[in-house]
Amino acid sequence: MEQTKAAETSLVERARGGDSAAFADLVRAYQRRAVSVAYRLLGNVEDAGDVSQDAFVRAYRCLEQLDDPARFGSWLLRIVSNLALNYRRARSTRAAASLDDDLALPSNIRNPSTVQRSVGLAPDEDGVLPAELRGGIQAAMEQLPEKQRLALILFSVEGLPQKEVAEILECTVELVKWNVFQARKKLKESLREYL
């Protein structure tokens, strides 16, 4: 772990000195996690790819502002989260402005439990989640307040330690735990049919 941090610090220092190959190594090391977090927040692989690219470019531009090079990962994921949430807000605004909004959105996005109830889906314990259930969880996630959604995604989905999640969210570890709990409580209601 310490070795990894030392290597990461070295890469950040070299990238700060203009070594683009060092930054490319950082991109390779973090792109999966960055895209994954963006994907969980946006529900769309293409958007997630674009947002994570933006995040890397922004990180490269602002590398001098990173106080502790050993925390590059947390810092990058904070940028990814912020950009993804901004992107999502802008997308919501555009969708709200569309006169065809209600017609364009599938009903399971508007109300995930409706379709699920009528289709009667059940999660396959051993296999891949059915597409509708996957969409239902995504939609239920999108209804969560941002802090709760981020806390749950970073902690339960990405498996980051609570301390790192707290760094990314710039809050206390206690608040991370509380937000995860609140998110679970809300999902319990919106996903009741699947439980």
Binding site: A24, R28, V45, F56, V57, L152, K177, L187, K188, L191
Partner: protein, 220 residues
Amino acid sequence: MTEAQYNPNDPAYLASRALDEELPAEERRRLDAALAESAELRVEAGELAGVDRLVKRWAGDGPELDWENHARLVSDRINSDVDEGDLAQVDRLLTRWGQDSAEIDADRFTAEVMQRVCAADQRHPRRNLLLRLAVPLAAAAAIVVAVTGPFRQTTAPSTVSQVAFRPIVQAAALPQTTSIVQFDRTAVADATPGSEDSSLSILIVGSSPLPRAFEEVPPA
């Protein structure tokens, strides 16, 4: 749904933390006691565990990309970003140059115009009427140059100046070559005296240092 107040003693909160295997022994005992007492809490704890299982299964369904291509796209954007940085520097210099140009002393400019026009008036009394019209228009045009000069992107002649001066020159039956008036920073308007009648030319030079105003071209 209103946000619940933080309550570390909420038994359901303990149940949620127990899912993450992080409860200290003391809190674990409290949770077990609460579960033993409350059927409602047992149901809630079971549902929270169900949510956690669903979320973790959902997590296994991660996005797949062409990662090498993704990394290459990031590198390309960073490299082009460096180029954009150079262009941005050029843009900043141009903006500063434009701001310098904006520092025309409009009053002084107008006064110089007036002075030159009056001098022309004394030499060419027949054109008094023309000049009485031209002076306020020229002053107005000078202000337009002073105010809008830095924000103009095009090198095309100013429509305002053409509209303002062309009818006057036409009314005076001057050759068309004398009617060219341009308010443009990069292009220098030319007025070619072609005969005795074209002795008055209006010439506005827009390149830096800024305008020397209307030039009177003496008769050929």
